[in-house]
Amino acid sequence: MNDAGSRSKLYRFFDERLKLESLREFAAHKVVPSHRHSAVYYTGGITLFLFIIQVCSGILLLMYYKGSAETAFESVRYIMSEVQFGWLMRDIHSWSANLMILFAFLHMFSVYFTKAYRFPRELTWLSGIILLVLSMGFGFSGYLLPWNELAFFATKVGTDMVGAVPLIGEPLLKLLRGSEDVTGATLSRFFGIHVAILPGLFMIFISIHLILVQRLGISEPESWRNLPPERKKYTPFFPNFILKDLAVWLVILAGVAALSVFFPWELGTKADPFAPAPQGIKPEWYFLFMYQTLKFIPSHVVGIEGEVFGIMAFAVGAILWTFVPFLDNDRNRDRVSRFFNFAGIVIVIYILVFTVLGHYLE
C-alpha cells in the first residue's frame, strides 16, 4: 500500500464502519513503564504467543488425529511418520505446551513479586489464575491423547488423586474418567475437553484478561509511587513495545523449533489397560511438586488420611493464592506486604525443590 490517497480511502472505509479513530487515539496514548525490571512485561506476551502456536499446531494435528482407544495411538504414529511435517507439528505442539505453562508460571510470579495484582487489577489476577488452571487442564487432558503407556498410567495416577478429594472425589472421578477406570471413554472425554470445552473457556477468560490489561494499563512498579512524574520513563505501546514483543516472539519461535528438532517427543508403546504399570510413572513436571508432596505425607495426619489431608492443604493454599490481591491490598502495605514477599519466595523455593525431588526420586 504505497499510495497515500488509496490508503486514506481504505482507512476511511473501515473508520466509517469500525470507528477506528478512537482506537487509534487509545493506541497512541498507551504506554509501558520503562525501568530495569521491564523484561517481566514480556512474560505475558510470550505466554499468549505460545498459546497462539498451540491453537495453530493443534488445528493442524486435529486434521489427522482420531480420538478413540482403537485409533488414537495409530493416528499419532501416522502423523509422526507419514504426514508431511507432522512430526514437526506434534513436537512443536508438545514443546510449546510445556513452555506455555512455564511462562504462565513466570508471568504469575513476576506479577506477584511486583505487586501488580493490587487495586485496581484484582480481577486481572483472578482471570489469570483461571487461565493458569485451564492451561494445566489443557496439559493434563492433552497428555493422554497419544494413548501411550506412560500417558495412560500417568492419567490413572492423576485421576486417582482427584478421587481422594473428600465428598465429591468419587463422583468427580467418574465424571472425569467416564467410567470406573481409565478407558477409551476417558480418552474420548479428554479429547472433547481438550479441543472444545477448554478452548471455549480459555477464549472467554483470555479475552477478559486482555481487555482488563488494556483498560487498566500496564502496572507501574511499587518504587515509582513516590517518584516525581519527570523521573518516570515510558515506552509507547504502539509501535515500540509491540515490535519488541514481536522480536521476542520470533526468538521464542526459533527456540521451540530447535527444541523440536533436537529433543523430539517419543511416542512409546501403545497403552494396554491390562498390562502392569511400568516402574517410575510420574505426572507432567508442573504437577510434580504436588505429587512429591503427597508422597512425603504420612499415611495419616491428625486422624485424616494422608492423601486427603494433602489435597485439602493444596486446596486451601490455592484459595489463599487466588485471593491474595484481597489479602495484600493497598490499605495494609509495608509490614504485611513484606510477609507476602517472604511467603512468595518460600513458595517458589518449595515448588522448585519438590519438582527437582519429584524428578530424581523414585
Partner: protein, 423 residues
C-alpha cells in the same frame, strides 16, 4: 530313591507309652493324638509331623489316619495304633501306589476336594516302567512318595513342591543321577547333567522360563516311558510343531524310519540339546556329515552349506539394518515403521530355520528371498530417515537464521523509532 528306615515298632510303642502317659490330654481337647505324640518325639519320628504341617492333605477328615489307618482320637497308643482300628503302620514301597489310588483314582471322591485334578495317575503309573517294575516286586523304582514326598506333599504349581517345573530335574536326578543306585538297571546316569547344560535346561533353570520343558514334558510323569525312535518326533513335535510337519514331509522321514534312526535325536541329540545354529549345517563337523559325504551323489552337504549361508546372510543383513535404524532412533527420528518391517524379516529368518527340516535348499532360499526384500525396505526407511535428519537440521538452521534476522531487524527498527521519538 530314599528308603524309609523306621525303628522297630516295639521300641516306638515303648517310647510313645512313656511319653503318652506323661502328656495325656483330655479327650475333648485332642485334635489328633498322632500329631500330639509324634510332635513330642525327635528326629525321624517327629519329621512327619513337621512336614505334614504344609502338606496338601493336612485338612479335617484326612490327616494321618487317611493313609496309616488307626484312631487319631484315642489317646491310648495301643488302641490308636491297633490293627483292630485299621492301623497299617508305614506302608511299603509296593503298597504305596495302590494305597494312594484308593482316593486318587476315585473321581467321585476326588471331586469333593479338587474337581480339576485328574484321577488317572494310578492307571498311567501301571503303564510306566516304574509301575511295571513295582508290580513285579521291585522296591527300588519310583512310586508316589519317591517324587511327591511322603508327608510334605504340595500341589505341583507350588514352587516349593518337589514336582514343580523347576524342581523336577532335581527330583528325577535323586535316583537317575546316582550311578550306584541305578547300576542294576543298566541305563545312563548323565541325563540330568546333560539336560541342565541343554537349551531347555538353561531356559527353565536359569532364565525361569516355565514354558521350557522339564523331564516329565517329554517322558510323561505318571506314565513315564523313554520315547523310542518312532515316538521321539511326536514328543518334540508337541512344541516344535512346524519343524515336525516339515520333517515328516521330507525324504528323510522315510529313510530314518527304515534305518530306525530317531527323527529329531539323530541331529539334535536328546538330553544335551544345544541351541541350534547354522554351524550344524556348515560347521567343521556338520551333523549332515554323520550320514552324508562329499560327492555322495545326493548333493546334501552342498545344499546344507547353501541353506546355512542364506540364513546367515539374512541374519547379518537384519542386524546391519537394525543398526542403521538404531542410529536414526538415537537421533530422535521415528523408526517404528522400519522396525515393523524388520520384525517381518526376522520372522522370515525364523521360518527359514524351520524350513531347514524340509531338507530342500529351495525352501530356505525362497523363504530368505522374501526376508531380503524386507531388509532392503527397512534399509530404505533408515536411509530416508537419516536423510531427513540432515534435512531437518538444514531446515532448522535456515529457519533460525531467518527468524533471528527478522528479530534483529525489528529491534533495529525499534531503536530507530526511539531515536526519532527523542528528537
Amino acid at each position: 530313591m530314599q528308603a524309609y528306615k523306621y525303628t522297630h515298632p516295639l521300641l516306638i510303642s515303648i517310647i510313645l507309652v512313656l511319653v503318652g502317659n506323661s502328656t495325656r490330654l483330655p479327650a475333648q481337647e485332642i485334635q489328633s493324638t498322632c500329631i500330639e505324640c509324634h510332635g513330642l518325639l525327635e528326629d525321624e519320628m517327629k519329621a512327619p509331623v513337621d512336614s505334614f504341617a504344609n502338606d496338601v492333605h493336612n485338612r479335617p477328615g484326612l490327616g494321618c489316619v487317611g493313609c496309616h489307618g488307626g484312631d487319631n482320637t484315642s489317646d491310648d497308643m495301643l488302641e490308636s495304633m491297633s490293627e483292630a482300628k485299621g492301623f497299617i503302620g508305614t506302608p511299603g514301597a509296593l503298597a504305596i501306589p495302590e494305597l494312594c489310588s484308593k482316593c486318587h483314582a476315585d473321581p467321585s471322591y476326588m471331586k469333593t476336594f479338587n474337581p480339576g485334578l485328574p484321577t488317572d495317575q494310578y492307571s498311567k503309573y501301571l503303564t510306566s516302567v516304574h509301575g511295571q517294575k513295582n508290580e513285579e516286586g521291585d522296591t527300588m523304582v519310583a512310586h508316589c512318595s519317591s517324587c511327591h514326598s511322603a508327608h510334605g506333599i504340595r500341589p505341583a504349581r507350588n514352587p516349593l513342591s518337589s514336582v514343580y517345573d523347576k524342581n523336577i530335574s532335581a527330583t528325577c536326578a535323586s535316583c537317575h543321577n546316582d550311578s550306584s543306585y541305578m547300576a542294576p538297571y543298566d541305563i545312563p546316569t548323565d541325563q540330568v547333567e546333560d539336560y541342565r547344560k541343554s537349551v531347555h535346561g538353561a531356559a527353565l533353570l536359569e532364565d525361569d522360563d516355565l514354558g521350557a520343558p522339564a523331564c516329565n514334558d517329554c517322558h510323561g510323569n505318571h506314565g513315564a516311558i523313554p520315547p523310542d525312535a518312532e515316538s521321539i518326533d511326536k514328543v518334540c513335535g508337541l512344541c516344535h510343531n512346524n519343524n515336525m510337519v516339515d520333517f515328516e514331509k521330507s525324504t528323510h522321514a522315510d529313510y530314518f524310519s527304515v534305518l530306525e534312526s530317531p527323527a529329531c535325536e539323530t541331529c539334535h541329540s536328546n538330553h544335551l540339546i544345544e541351541a541350534p545354529g547354522t554351524e550344524m549345517l556348515s560347521g567343521e563337523e556338520p551333523v549332515c556329515g554323520q550320514c552324508h559325504f562329499e560327492d555322495d551323489g545326493t548333493g546334501a552337504l552342498e545344499a546344507a552349506k547353501l541353506m546355512a549361508s542364506r540364513i546367515d546372510s539374512l541374519e547379518n543383513a537384519i542386524a546391519e539394518a537394525e543398526g542403521r535404524l538404531e542410529e536414526a532412533d538415537q537421533k530422535g527420528l521415528f523408526v517404528n515403521n522400519g522396525l515393523f518391517v524388520l520384525k517381518d524379516a526376522r520372522q522370515r529368518a525364523f521360518k527359514a530355520r524351520t524350513a531347514v527340516h524340509t531338507f530342500q535348499a529351495d525352501s530356505v532360499v525362497n523363504m530368505t528371498a522374501a526376508g531380503f526384500e524386507q531388509v532392503a525396505e527397512a534399509r530404505n526407511i533408515a536411509r530416508e530417515l537419516l536423510d531427513n535428519y540432515v534435512f531437518r537440521r538444514k531446515g532448522l538452521a535456515i529457519s533460525v537464521v531467518v527468524l533471528l534476522i527478522l528479530a534483529v531487524a525489528i529491534w533495529v527498527k525499534v531503536k530507530r523509532i526511539e531515536s526519532r521519538q527523542k528528537h
